[in-house]
């Protein structure tokens, strides 16, 4: 499986995902299936899948406390300790996790190897690598904002924070753009940031030889899916409009458990919805579970307090050891000869030898 095959496979898979609702709704008018049944099924898969997965992780214990210590530990009062990178208690762990989850702190450290050779002498340098961090953080935050903005379709009345978020996101009034209607309704910055960030995340997998080497179809597939999701969403907003009141009717019907699939919503909406359904149904079975996993990572969510708080391993079992008695039995004579203290006298050796 080389990278080329991986990309083609993932791309075709996403194309199929696009075609299914296109045919399903566009040609066969299966609105109930694509507007109600599949979304419910996908949501159920998503929630149940996540719960099962997380509980499955939880069923395995954390036998040892192995935090990565990225800063000075707690020792003497006169040595400045790093409370966040080497936490000794819950507070530090929480702050560390918050930094990790909210600012992608570990990724922020990222460096890029620069390897040179001058007259046979190697030189290794490290350049600060910020693009992955930047793309990652832009992508995740844009996705979050876009998701929350969609609450205007999920809730009635629409909560104030959603309106505020929309206003902030649409702050740049790019309305009345040179293309007719393209800027109307308001252009959201997160739309463009998301697409740019995901595009970069995809491109780097193709452009960097190391990334190309390690990437699997499972890496390209979600990227293509999210690109497709964003692309159809933007198309729907800026180009092939649909009747948003009907969209909301459908969406809110789902959330109120009185689903309807109103007539007259453009196929593009069903494509968008189906991609989303595939994405969330795929979620629990994929690497996307890092969303939940990051909170459970023992190298990050544990304090470095082993030396002063005992960690208990639930499956700790007794093991065979080489006891001092066995040791002394083997070396007693030498020890006595060398003047080393022994537990038993020289005759003890003879005794054991006799027994054997």
């Amino acid at each position: 499986m080389n990278f080329f095959l991986s990309i083609i496979f993932s791309f075709i898979a996403v194309m199929v995902v696009v075609l299914i609702p296109w045919i399903g709704v566009g040609a066969l008018d299966l609105r109930v299936l694509f507007g109600i049944v599949i979304p419910y099924a996908a949501m159920a898969t998503f929630f149940v899948g996540i719960i099962i997965r997380v509980i499955d992780w939880g069923r395995s214990p954390v036998p040892f406390r192995i935090p990565t210590t990225a800063g000075q530990e707690w020792s003497f009062p006169w040595i400045k300790r790093n409370r966040i990178d080497n936490p000794k208690g819950l507070g530090g762990v929480i702050v560390r996790m918050l930094f990790e989850v909210l600012t992608f702190r570990s990724l922020f450290r990222n460096t890029r190897l620069e390897y040179r050779r001058t007259q046979g002498v190697p030189k290794v340098d490290y350049e600060w690598e910020k693009w992955l961090w930047l793309a990652a953080i832009l992508f995740h935050y844009s996705f979050l904002v876009i998701f929350l903005r969609h609450f205007r379709f999920f809730t009635e009345p629409v909560p104030g924070f959603v309106t505020l978020l929309q206003n902030l996101d649409g702050f740049m009034q790019m309305g009345a753009a040179p293309f007719n209607g393209f800027g109307l309704p308001g252009v959201y910055l997160t739309d463009m940031l998301l697409m740019a960030a995901v595009t970069w995340l995809l491109l780097r997998r193709v452009l960097y030889s190391q990334m190309r080497y390690i990437s699997l179809p499972a890496d390209y597939f979600p990227l293509f899916l999210i690109l497709g999701l964003g692309f159809t969403g933007m198309l729907m907003r800026y180009l092939f409009r649909v009747d948003v009141t009907k969209v909301k009717e459908l969406a809110i019907g789902l959330f109120k458990f009185s689903p309807t699939a109103p007539e007259g919503i453009g196929v593009i909406f069903y494509i968008h919805l189906f991609i989303l359904c595939v994405l969330i149904a795929y979620f629990p079975f994929s690497k996307l579970m890092h969303l939940a996993g990051v909170f459970l990572s023992p190298t990050r969510n544990l304090a470095n307090n082993n030396r002063f708080v005992r960690h208990v391993n639930p499956w700790n079992y007794p093991v065979a050891t080489h006891t001092y008695e066995e040791y002394e039995d083997e070396f007693r004579d030498h020890m006595i000869e060398a003047g080393l203290p022994v537990e038993k006298g020289a005759d003890a050796t003879a005794e054991t030898e006799e027994k054997e």
Partner: protein, 128 residues
Amino acid sequence: MYDGGKIIIGLIIGLGLLLSPFFYNAGKAAKAPDPELTQKAKEAKVCVAPTTYMRESHFTLLDEWRHTVVRDGERYYTSDDGKKYYKGLQTTCLDCHSNYSKFCELCHNYVDVDPYCWDCHILPEEKK
């Protein structure tokens, strides 16, 4: 399960946020809006474009109008059926749809859209 308490609390918080639309909407009557036509609109029967198009893309049309009027000086619009209209949000659209609060606003509120048209353009005075 190990650390079950923490994990379950985490799950509840995390999934609770994702499930919040279910809780938020539960027990609420979230009726889709039903915009009301004025007498004048009813009599006119047709708008400048078919209803579906107007529902989906009236702002595109308005933007098109705005642009051609201001920049190209083209003041008149011919509809599908050959009728000519003076391009004007206030003078044409709102003349017919003079019931902003029962027409435009219903859907705008429903899908939380707050167009900045009304920063400058004047809403019709409605008889209460």
